[in-house]
Symmetry: C2
Subunit: 470 residues, 2 copies
């Protein structure tokens, strides 16, 4: 494990026994942890480790409010934490911030079957919420590999993307309202039960994607689309990235409104998940693979569209081999190949992970460029991701972190992304690990505006310090 930081502690207060007594009086002794905090201090990638001595688990928005009001007055730094599945070190403390866990604020409040409007608290685990909405014929519009442990509040706070942005858009579109607590302890009710509500400034967006630095989200109103009756998934083998791109264009053309996912995996990525987890891929031996999913309301219509798409692709020589299935267990097996890629790469030593948006014509070049650049220092340089959203996950795995490899990669990878007019963070956010690279994607005046907004909403800087802005 490499703890990649050497950050000077900010000018915050230090915890004392009176603080502990206060917190105990608010949330009760058993909802306050002072020992065995590794799981809270270390992030999923094991690249950032904080030194927090205190985890607080409030059970209501009022308790969150009381905690933040107190911390703000005492200038105690706070790290809000959901499922701690973030990949940019945004969900763990950097120094000794108090960890504010949302795990007990986790009720599902209502699900409206007709309008799809779902109201829940931020500590709901994404998969649990999705299961509940599916019971009444709806789905949560965000889906990602970490679904069994990430919280919906964390998803919203980070504007998480995932596998179905192509179909359902991002959370700024799907989140109808939030309740949030400001650094001052002020509870702001920005909930809405409507798809359309143009009454004044749309303040909720300040909290979507600001990674807990402007407020702590405690409740969410979410527009959930209807569950599709028919799902088909194809796993395809292709010989070049050019064919991958053409296949994506054809998928849009032939599948139209039923296209729900368009993912690319290169050979190195597939090899990682297959070998690490001893999985069977339906086909192997190609440089590129695609997962193309349709979700629709009529299985025979959808299959007809799918077959036409596949026949065309095979006839043109773009798709070399593949399989398509509507069987749930097979669909799940194929998705596993994709979803376990990042897990396999992390478990095999150390992995440098980059989550970038790129113009489609540039999409895969960066993998080759990085391969040339790092040479034998890496075990594997590979790329996979949400081609349909122009979002590549570039991964560089190695036995263990070395400064030499690190310096070969950064800041070059960000400079390159900037040069081809990409975005240095498509969906993972900025967190701690990318805060020094924000300038590659944001203009100086917008960074300045971010800083003054942070100062405006959190004058003492207690909320998730050391993150997003440096």
């Amino acid at each position: 494990m490499k703890i990649r930081h050497n950050v000077k502690r900010g000018n915050y207060g230090f915890l004392d026994s009176k603080d502990i007594s206060f917190f105990e009086s608010v949330i009760g002794k058993r909802n306050l942890l002072q020992e065995d905090l590794d799981g809270y201090n270390v992030d999923f990638l094991r690249s950032v480790c904080g030194n927090s001595q205190l985890v607080l688990k409030p059970g209501s928005v009022k308790e969150v409010s009381a905690i933040l009001k107190y911390c703000n007055e005492r200038k105690l730094a706070v790290c809000p934490q959901g499922g701690n599945t973030g990949l940019v070190g945004g969900s763990v403390p950097i120094c000794d911030e108090i960890i504010l866990s949302l795990q007990r604020i986790n009720r599902i409040i209502s699900i409206d079957q007709i309008t799809g409007i779902t109201v829940c608290e931020s500590g709901c685990i994404l998969e649990n919420l999705d299961n509940k909405t599916r019971e009444v014929g709806l789905v949560v519009p965000v889906d990602l590999g970490a679904k069994s442990s990430c919280y919906i509040g964390g998803n919203v706070s980070t504007n998480a993307g995932g596998l179905r942005v192509l179909r359902y858009g991002n959370l700024h579109g799907s989140v109808l309202g939030v309740e949030a607590v400001l650094a001052s302890g002020q509870i702001i009710d920005l909930m809405s039960d409507f798809k359309k509500d143009n009454t004044g400034y749309h303040l909720k967006h300040l909290f979507i994607g600001s990674e807990g630095t402007l407020g702590v989200i405690t409740k969410i109103s979410l527009l959930c689309p209807p569950k599709s009756d028919a799902v088909h998934l194809a796993f395809l083998g292709l010989s070049s990235f050019d064919h991958v791109l053409r296949t994506f264009i054809n998928a849009k053309r032939y599948l139209g409104e039923i296209l729900s996912s368009c993912e690319m995996i290169d050979a190195g990525s597939l090899e990682a998940s297959v070998s690490h987890f001893k999985l069977n891929a339906p086909i192997q031996g190609y440089p590129f693979y695609m997962l193309i999913e349709s979700s629709g309301s009529n299985a025979s219509h959808d299959l007809e569209k799918f077959n036409e798409f596949l026949e065309n692709g095979m006839k043109n020589g773009e798709i070399l081999d593949g399989t398509v299935t509507a069987e749930l267990s097979k669909i799940q097996d194929i998705w596993k190949l994709r979803e376990l890629v990042p897990v396999a790469l992390v478990n095999n030593g150390y992995c440098f992970k980059y989550d970038i948006s790129l113009p489609l014509r540039e999409f895969y070049n960066i993998v080759n460029v990085m391969q040339d650049r790092v040479g034998d220092l890496a075990k594997c340089v590979c790329g996979y991701g949400h081609l349909g959203d122009s979002n590549l996950h570039l991964n560089i795995s190695c036995e263990k972190f070395t400064e030499e490899l690190y310096n070969r990669i950064e800041p070059f990878v960000f400079e390159y992304t900037c040069k081809v007019k990409g975005s240095i963070s498509a969906e993972h956010g900025i967190g701690f690990l990318k805060r020094n690279y924000l300038k590659y994607s944001k203009s100086p005046e917008s960074i300045k505006m971010m800083r003054s907004l942070k100062k405006f909403l959190d004058p003492n800087g207690i909320l998730n310090p050391y993150k997003v802005l440096n």
Copy 2:
């Protein structure tokens, strides 16, 4: 015409000849109007009339910047104006604000056929932009009755809704980036060419739906979905609102992912457009009508779905009569019946217009309640709108504005909406006409936060004063 306001002029500077000289030096004499300003001073509904003596038509973002910087220093109030089609008095001056027209900043910069990403300036007329995107197989995700004169910049500034929110969601989801000019003259580049860009705070949302009070949008990056090859439109007659609601639920079930619009018109609304514009409705004599549109990629699949939906509705006695067509000219004729309702109601004297979101079970009650309340004072109390988005347009037309009728309607209509937990503005915004009623939809602390945000971004309050906040 009733000019419904008696507002005390704010503490702003007064225009003098030096100001005129400065503006002439920035934009040239011919882009500055000082006469015949009625078309700029009076809103579409003819309910608000300003007394501006000056219209400026900058040709670039730099000119907008220079104008605002100067106005901010001189404390001259500014009313940004797009196509002036707003329905809440947000786009006209209230006192003598300088009108900043975006009409010359109207280039379409790029349209990416593959990703759908379209970049344009804010003065583009919505219909022109839509026509251009259609040439390469895309559509603009916002569509509304005023499309031939409204500007995309105004649509984004007001988070305009319209006919296809049901399918494509709202503009917070579709707008990928904006360029805006702050009150200080500072140009903020928040453009993005990507669907996914999680680099820092999502500041663009501050300008989407804040009605020109926080900044002036000059450029937009918009995600345009593919144009549908097959469009079907049904015009249905129904006997009760209960049947309307059940038909909506069935449309979602049978049409699934191809459902692109679900509108309701009551008898009074249809009668208004039919009689005023001498139109032919395919069917008449029912208390309720629905327009249900599908947009898909396969005409025969779509028609099969549509027929199944209609057969089921007729068998159950929910749909009494109707017609369905895929012919473009017939589709346009049917849409006219709907789109001309508001125009007909306005042209027939005076019309009180309310644009509200309501829980579906409460959706139509308010029309009956208002009918009882206003009695003979009104010519017509009717309701139509975007049922699929829970958005009702309640209209009360009369020969001419009277205080008596006004007092019967307001604030009752807002109190009622608040009581049933609706929103007092679904898509039209707050503008000038609803600023005193904001409290019915927003909590005191969120209004307070709005005020401090306004102060933060526009300390002299020069941008679109008297709007949104009172």
